[in-house]
C-alpha cells in the first residue's frame, strides 16, 4: 500500500465554555491515501465537520486543537503558524462546502474568483491563469466555459455552482480535498452527477478526498473507506463494504438500520436506538381529545383540477413583451380520505408550488382546487377562513419557519387564538397537551426556538400544525434538513398521526426511499407537469415513464442492506 497523503493521529479539539472544556472531537485517527475517497459519517454534532475544519486549519474561535497530530505528506501541519497554514490552504488542501448557493461571492464573476485563486497559488500571468481557469471549467463539465467565465454565480443552477466550487478547489492541484456534505443541498440526479465527478477526479488526479456526509447511500455509492463517528469519537473504521455489510459497533448497526429502504415497505421507520436516542410516546396520548375528522362527501377530500401557475420571468412595460415561466402546468390529481399522497420530482419541478397553491399561499392562475366538494379558488372570505383551519402546512426548514422572537407556547397557541377555537383559559392546557403528543416536555413551552435542535423544532412545527385539529396536512420536505436518526423520529410521528387520527396528507419529498415508506400513492412531477400517478408499490416495482425509472435508478443504494 502507498504512503498516506494525510494522516490524522489522536486528534482532539476542544472548545472552552462556561461549563468547562467541551471536546467535540476526541482522539480521532484516520489516514487518506492518494486517489482514495474516505467517507466520514455520523449524525450532526458527531464532530465530522470539526475534524475536517481542523485539517484545513479553519477552526472557528474559540475551538482549538488540544492534542494529536496532523501529517501532510510527511510534514506535521497542525502546529504551523497561521501564515504557514494559510499557505497550505487552497494549495495543498482544498475544501468544498455544503451549500453551493452561498459559497461563491455573488458580486464577482466566477472567472474573477478562479483567476484570483490560481494566481495566488501558482504565480502565473493573467493570461495563463485565464487559460487554466477555462480548462478547469471544462474539466468539471461546464458547457461553454468561455461564456460562463464572465458570468456571475446567480446565473448558474445549484449543481453548476457546485461544479464551479469543485473547479475552485482544484485550482492548484491539491493533494487532499475536504468535501463537507457536498451534495446534501442537491437533487438526486444532480447529486449523482457531482459524486461521479468527484470519483473521476480522485482516480484521475490521485487527490485524496475526505467526504463528510450523513447520507449512508452516498457513502455506499462513492467511498472506499469509511469512518463512523459518534459524539466526537471514531466508533468504527474500515473498508466501506465491510463496515456496511458487517458492522461491528452497535451505533453503526443502528445507524444503518435507520436508513429508509427503497426496496421494502416497513410498517415503521427503524430509529437509531444507540445512546438512548429513541423517543417514544403513547398512541393513546395522541388520540385523546381528538375528534376523528369527518369523512368527505365524495370520498375524495382534495381534488386538484388542472391547476396552473405562471411566474413573471422578464418584466416589461408592454404586456406583450413580458415573458412568463410556467412553474405548474395543468396538474390534476385527487387525494382520498385518510390517504398519504406523495409528490416527487427534482427541484424546480413545481412540487412546492402545487403545495403552496393548495395551502392558498399562492393564487392559482388557472384550474380549480376542490376541498370536500367546495371550490377553494372561488371561496368567500368566511369559507376561506374555515378552509384554512382545516388544512395546515409543515415546512422544510425548521430554522426559518418558527418566529425566533416568540416563545414556543405562543407559537403553538397562535392558530388556536387566531381561529378562536378555545376560550383563553384553556389554551395553555391544550398547548401542553400538543407538546406532549409530539414528544416534547412541558418545560419546552417557555423556551425560544433557538434553544432546540432541528428535530425538536420540526416537532414544534408539527404541534403547531395539529393545534387546529386539521383534516388535511401538507408536508413540504419535512425531513430534508434533518439527520437520518432524527428523520426517523419525525416520520414515525407523522405516520402515527396519519394512522391513528385518520389525517389525510400531501407529502412532498425528493427522497424516494422516504416516499416509499410514507405514501399510499405517488405522483411524479417533471418540469411543472404531473407525468405519472401510481400506487406506491406499483410505481417502485414497474414505473411506466422512462423519467420515473431514471429517478429510481439514481437513488444511492445500500445494496448490502437489501436483505
Amino acid at each position: 500500500m502507498t504512503e498516506p497523503v494525510l494522516s490524522i493521529r489522536n486528534l482532539t479539539v476542544e472548545i472552552p465554555t462556561r461549563h468547562g472544556l467541551f471536546k467535540p472531537v476526541k482522539n480521532v485517527s484516520y489516514d487518506i491515501h492518494p486517489g482514495e475517497i474516505r467517507g466520514v459519517v455520523g449524525e450532526s454534532g458527531a464532530g465530522k465537520s470539526m475534524t475536517g475544519n481542523a485539517v484545513i486549519g479553519l477552526l472557528d474561535d474559540p475551538a482549538r486543537v488540544a492534542s494529536g497530530e496532523i501529517w501532510l505528506k510527511g510534514r506535521r501541519i497542525d502546529n504551523l503558524s497561521p501564515e504557514e497554514q494559510r499557505a497550505i490552504r487552497g494549495r495543498e488542501i482544498s475544501m468544498i462546502f455544503q451549500d453551493p448557493l452561498t459559497s461563491l461571492n455573488p458580486l464577482f464573476t466566477i472567472g474573477e474568483q478562479l483567476v484570483e485563486t490560481i494566481q495566488l497559488h501558482l504565480k502565473v500571468s493573467a493570461t495563463e491563469a485565464r487559460e487554466r481557469a477555462l480548462a478547469l471549467l471544462d474539466r468539471v463539465s461546464i458547457p461553454d466555459p468561455k461564456t460562463r467565465f464572465d458570468q456571475y454565480p446567480h446565473q448558474f443552477s445549484g449543481g453548476m455552482r457546485q461544479r464551479v466550487v469543485i473547479a475552485l478547489a482544484l485550482c492548484s492541484e491539491p493533494s487532499v480535498i475536504v468535501a463537507d456534505e457536498p451534495t446534501t443541498a442537491l437533487d438526486v440526479s444532480i447529486q449523482a452527477q457531482v459524486l461521479d465527478l468527484i470519483k473521476e477526479l480522485a482516480s484521475e488526479t490521485q487527490v485524496g478526498v475526505i467526504l463528510v456526509t450523513h447520507d449512508m447511500g452516498v457513502i455506499a455509492d462513492t467511498t472506499e473507506q469509511v469512518t463512523v463517528m459518534y459524539s466526537g469519537e471514531v466508533v468504527e473504521n474500515g473498508p466501506t463494504d465491510k463496515v456496511l455489510s458487517a458492522p461491528e459497533h452497535e451505533y453503526t448497526k443502528s445507524l444503518i438500520s435507520a436508513v429508509p429502504r427503497p426496496q421494502v415497505k416497513l410498517h415503521r421507520f427503524p430509529q437509531v436506538s444507540y445512546g438512548g436516542r429513541e423517543t417514544t410516546f403513547k398512541i393513546e396520548d395522541l388520540a385523546r381529545n381528538w375528534h376523528k375528522p369527518e369523512l368527505s362527501k365524495s370520498g375524495k377530500l382534495v381534488e386538484v383540477k388542472g391547476i396552473t401557475k405562471k411566474f413573471l420571468e422578464k418584466s416589461a412595460i408592454l404586456p406583450s413583451r413580458r415573458t412568463y415561466f410556467t412553474a405548474v402546468d395543468d396538474v390534476s390529481f385527487d387525494i382520498k380520505d385518510g390517504e398519504v399522497f406523495g409528490l416527487v420530482g427534482e427541484s424546480g419541478s413545481g412540487k412546492s408550488t402545487v403545495a403552496r397553491m393548495i395551502g392558498t399561499l399562492l393564487p392559482v392562475d388557472g384550474g380549480q382546487i376542490h376541498f370536500d366538494g367546495e371550490d377553494v379558488t372561488a371561496m368567500s372570505a368566511e369559507d376561506m377562513a374555515n378552509y384554512r383551519k382545516q388544512i395546515q402546512m409543515i415546512f422544510q426548514d425548521p430554522f426559518s419557519s418558527l418566529n425566533p422572537r416568540m416563545k414556543v407556547e405562543s407559537i403553538v397557541a397562535e392558530p388556536l387564538i387566531h381561529h378562536k377555537l378555545l376560550p383563553p383559559d384553556q389554551i395553555s392546557g391544550r398547548v401542553h397537551e400538543l407538546l406532549d403528543r409530539v414528544g416534547l416536555t412541558r418545560a419546552a413551552a417557555n423556551k425560544y426556538p433557538h434553544e432546540f435542535s432541528g428535530g425538536q423544532r420540526q416537532r414544534i412545527s408539527i404541534a403547531r400544525a395539529l393545534a387546529t385539529q386539521p383534516r388535511f396536512l401538507i408536508c413540504d420536505e419535512p425531513t430534508s434538513a434533518l439527520d437520518v436518526s432524527i428523520q426517523a423520529q419525525i416520520l414515525n410521528i407523522l405516520k402515527d398521526l396519519q394512522e391513528h387520527l385518520g389525517l389525510t396528507m400531501l407529502f412532498i419529498s425528493h427522497d424516494l426511499p422516504v416516499v416509499r415508506q410514507m405514501c399510499d400513492r405517488v405522483g411524479v412531477m417533471k418540469q411543472g407537469q404531473l407525468i405519472e400517478v401510481q400506487d406506491t408499490e406499483t410505481l417502485f416495482a414497474n414505473p411506466k415513464q422512462d423519467y420515473t425509472a431514471q429517478l429510481l435508478d439514481l437513488m444511492p443504494r445500500l445494496a448490502q442492506l437489501s436483505s
Binding site: G90, T102, S103, L104, L107, L120, K314
Partner: protein, 323 residues
C-alpha cells in the same frame, strides 16, 4: 437596466411635482404677498391691478402650472426683502454651502468606512471598543452643541481656527472658493467636522454591522479555504458586499448634509444657503423659501437616482432582472 432607470426617473419627477406643490402653496397660504408689497396707503384699485399683473387672479391650477414652468427655467421671482432675483441670490450663496457639504461628505464617507471596517475586523480589540464608545457621543450630541464645543476648544481656548465666516475667498467666474487661501481652508475645518460628525458615526456603525454580517457568510469561509490572505478577503470580498446596502444610506445622508447645513451655518455664521433660508424665514421672504425648498428636493432626488444606478453597477443580480 433601461426600464429600471426609466422607472426611477418617472418616480423622481413625481416627487418633484409634489414638493413643487408644497413650495407653491406657501405663496397662497402663508399670508397674502400683496399685503407685503403694497404699503398702508393703498387703494382697492392698486390691489386689483397688482393682483392682475402678478397673475394672482387666475385659477390656482393655472398659477401652479406657471410656477412650475418658471421654476423649471430657474426663475423663482424676486426676493421680497432684497428686491433682487432669487436665482441670483442663490447662485451667490450656493458655493459656500456646496464646498462645506462636499468636504464634510468626504470626511463622513472616508472616515466612516475606514473606522467601520477597522472596528469590524478588530472587533474585540481595545481600540475598536474605544471608537465604538466615543461614536455614541457623536450620535447623541446635537449638532449645535458639537459646533459650540469645537469653537470653545479650538477658537477660544487654543486659538488655532476661526470661529465664524468663510475667511478670504477667491473668485473664479461666478463661483467663489475658500479652498485656495489659507484662511479659507482654516475656516472650513470646524464647520465641516461639525456637519459631518453625525453622518460619519452613522456610516461607521452601519459599515461595521454590515461587515460583521458579511464576514459570517459562507463565501468568506470558502475564500479562506481557498487560501486567500486576510487582506484580500477583508478589502476585496467582504468590503464590496458590505457596500451594497451602505450605499443607499450614504446617498440619503449626503442629501441630509446639504439640507441640514442650516444649523451648522447658523452656529458658524457661514454665508451659505442655510443661513439665507433662516433669514428668509425671519422676514417671510417666500420666494427665497420656495426656491430653497425646490432646490433641496431636486438635490435629494438626483442623488437618490444616482445611488439607484450605482447600486445596479455594484450588484450584478440587479442588472439582469430589473424587477
Amino acid at each position: 437596466m433601461l426600464p429600471f432607470i426609466l422607472k426611477r426617473v418617472f418616480q423622481s419627477i413625481l416627487v418633484l411635482v409634489i414638493t413643487g406643490a408644497i413650495a407653491f402653496s406657501m405663496f397662497t397660504f402663508v399670508g397674502d404677498p400683496i399685503d407685503n408689497m403694497l404699503g398702508q396707503e393703498r387703494t382697492l384699485e392698486d390691489v386689483e391691478r397688482l393682483r392682475a399683473r402678478l397673475g394672482l387672479d387666475q385659477p390656482v391650477p393655472v398659477q401652479y402650472f406657471k410656477f412650475l414652468n418658471e421654476a423649471a427655467h430657474g426663475n423663482f421671482g424676486v426676493s421680497y426683502r432684497q428686491g433682487r432675483e432669487v436665482s441670483e441670490i442663490i447662485m451667490e450663496r450656493a458655493p459656500a454651502t456646496l464646498e462645506l457639504a462636499a468636504l464634510s461628505a468626504i470626511f463622513a464617507v472616508v472616515m466612516g468606512i475606514a473606522l467601520g471596517v477597522f472596528t469590524a475586523i478588530r472587533r474585540d480589540g481595545f481600540a475598536a471598543h474605544f471608537i465604538m464608545s466615543v461614536s455614541l457621543i457623536g450620535v447623541s450630541l446635537p449638532t449645535f452643541l458639537i459646533g459650540i464645543l469645537l469653537i470653545y476648544l479650538f477658537s477660544v481656548e487654543l486659538g488655532w481656527l476661526p470661529s465664524f465666516g468663510r475667511g478670504e475667498v477667491v473668485k473664479i467666474g461666478s463661483w467663489t472658493t475658500g479652498f485656495l487661501t489659507e484662511s479659507g481652508l482654516k475656516a472650513l475645518v470646524l464647520p465641516a467636522i461639525t456637519l459631518g460628525l453625525y453622518q460619519m458615526t452613522l456610516i461607521m456603525r452601519l459599515v461595521r454591522s454590515e461587515m460583521l454580517e458579511v464576514l459570517r457568510q459562507d463565501y468568506i469561509r470558502f475564500a479562506r479555504a481557498r487560501g486567500l490572505s486576510d487582506r484580500v478577503i477583508n478589502f476585496r470580498h467582504a468590503l464590496k458586499n458590505t457596500m451594497v446596502p451602505v450605499i443607499t444610506v450614504i446617498g440619503l445622508q449626503l442629501g441630509a448634509i446639504i439640507a441640514f447645513a442650516i444649523i451648522t451655518e447658523t452656529v458658524f455664521q457661514w454665508p451659505g444657503l442655510g443661513l439665507l433660508f433662516i433669514n428668509a424665514i425671519q422676514f417671510v421672504d417666500i420666494p427665497v423659501m420656495a426656491a430653497y425648498l425646490m432646490m433641496i428636493s431636486v438635490m435629494f432626488v438626483v442623488i437618490n437616482l444616482l445611488v439607484d444606478i450605482l447600486y445596479a453597477f455594484i450588484d450584478p443580480r440587479l442588472r439582469v432582472s430589473a424587477k
